[in-house]
Amino acid sequence: MPGADKETELKGRIEDFLADLKRGGSGTGALRGSGEMARETTYLLRRITAQARWSSAGDLMEIIRHEGRRITAAQPSETTVGNMVRRVLKIIREEYASTASGTSAKQNMVDHVIDGLVEDLSVQIKSNQILFVTYTWLGHEMATGLSKVIIGTQTVLANGGLRAVNGTHSVALAARHHSTPLIVCAPMFKLSPQFPNEEDTFHKFVSPHEVLPFTAGEILSKVNVHCPVFDYVPPELISNIGGNAPSYIYRLMSELYHPEDHKL
């Protein structure tokens, strides 16, 4: 039966996506980079909307929330995935509020809007390519007078702080010390409704073999080596997040996500 086939196909795709996420997150495997992950998530959500069985907006939201919980549990440090799920939930709420007609019309509308979101993403990703200078030189350069420091980030948190690659906090402190403006560029899908002090929001550690290889010998038994992946940069050190002050992030958040979806 065509219906059953579609369902198993959909389930298969979701399982594939989950496996990809668990395997590596960004950096390795099929899903490289947050942009790629955001796009893949949106495609998956569009497929779910098109192929799953639902008869009301509430049903669809429940399905997406259920799948969203599984996806975010697979790789908690990738907040982009959760953000896309929340964005789609908000879109569904908006569509429901603006339409009054039957199921089929709703389905078309939601598809249409998710398409728009995918297009939106491609534009954003192209216009936000950021180049990094190596961190070790930055202090020296700043002392001789840089006009500004521009950085990217993995996530923008709800209080305007950042969760960025290790070393960014030092850069931010150096910039504050030399009174150099610090500007952050990030696409919308990196805005996350999480706060930094909440439990389980934060760290991801990787093997320190790049810093202290196993061949180092005796010393390995005497020391504890931690290798965190992310840094927290407090909002006080940031001048601008793409045209907005960090204290304005709550506003963008309320446009992108609905407060009831903060906890999936």
């Binding site: 209080n159 706060f195 909440e198 439990e199 204290s247 992030i249 709550y250 506003r251």
Partner: protein
Amino acid sequence: MNLMKLVEYFRTQVRQDPEVPSAVAAIRTLLEFLKRDQTGETILGLRENLTQTIRRLEEADSSVAVSSGGELFLRFISLTSLEHPDLSQCKKVMVERGELFLKKISLSRSKVAKLCHTFIKDGAKILTHSSSRVVLKVLESAAADKKRFTVYVTESQPDSAGRQMADKLRKLNIPVTVVLDAAVGYIMEKVDLVIVGAEGVVESGGIINKIGTYQLAVCSKAHNKPFYVVAESFKFVRLYPLNQQDVPERFKYKADTLKAVEDLAEEHPMIDYTPPSLITLIFTDLGVLTPSAVSDELIKLYL
């Protein structure tokens, strides 16, 4: 229902259930008044009567929350389409909305506690000021979540409210120590976070709370400790104080003091104002807000 009886009703409500916020007791009183009122003949007349009642209740209990709670209640019930030609119909609608409002705000303390307790990590040392039922609820939820933490409470003179808070916490089996108000700077290096309640949240995102809160905030900023405020949304008040002197006198002193004393310069104020720059986050039933987000939420409430 004359005003004397109303104040009696209000006081009885507060006495019967000490857990309930004074603003909720005030709103229950207003609802009673609305149900029993016979003299209002127009909607405007009703509103006038309610406003007068709120003034009278403020004289009985000068806390900021009674004022803001009453104002929000009035707006919620009357700013709706009351197009029925018959006054008693309109009154019925207003009473229904009043009951709805009351139900919503009775749940707000639990909502705040649910949001805040995830910010308390295992092994945390918490500093709090004076006695706040919302902070108590938050700590209760965190303890129920099997988290281990210790609490320091400031004694909070002149009424030693901190000691009552310590007693309540001991009943919940939470290790607690009472510290002098003057020992805040001394103890700050030991604590991980500061949580206080608020009597009122002002438009700028700052708070009005028991005297000594400002000191606590300045100290925690100096030591780089997060300073969290927990408050229900009916405490949002339309004030914008620029400094300590700007806070209206009717909130600064207890109601009895205001009536009895001629020269207020001799009296100790009971509250102070903490500016938003010292506050990290405000937890309300509308969500977790940064101080800059408060004015947006306030406008949504009052409009």
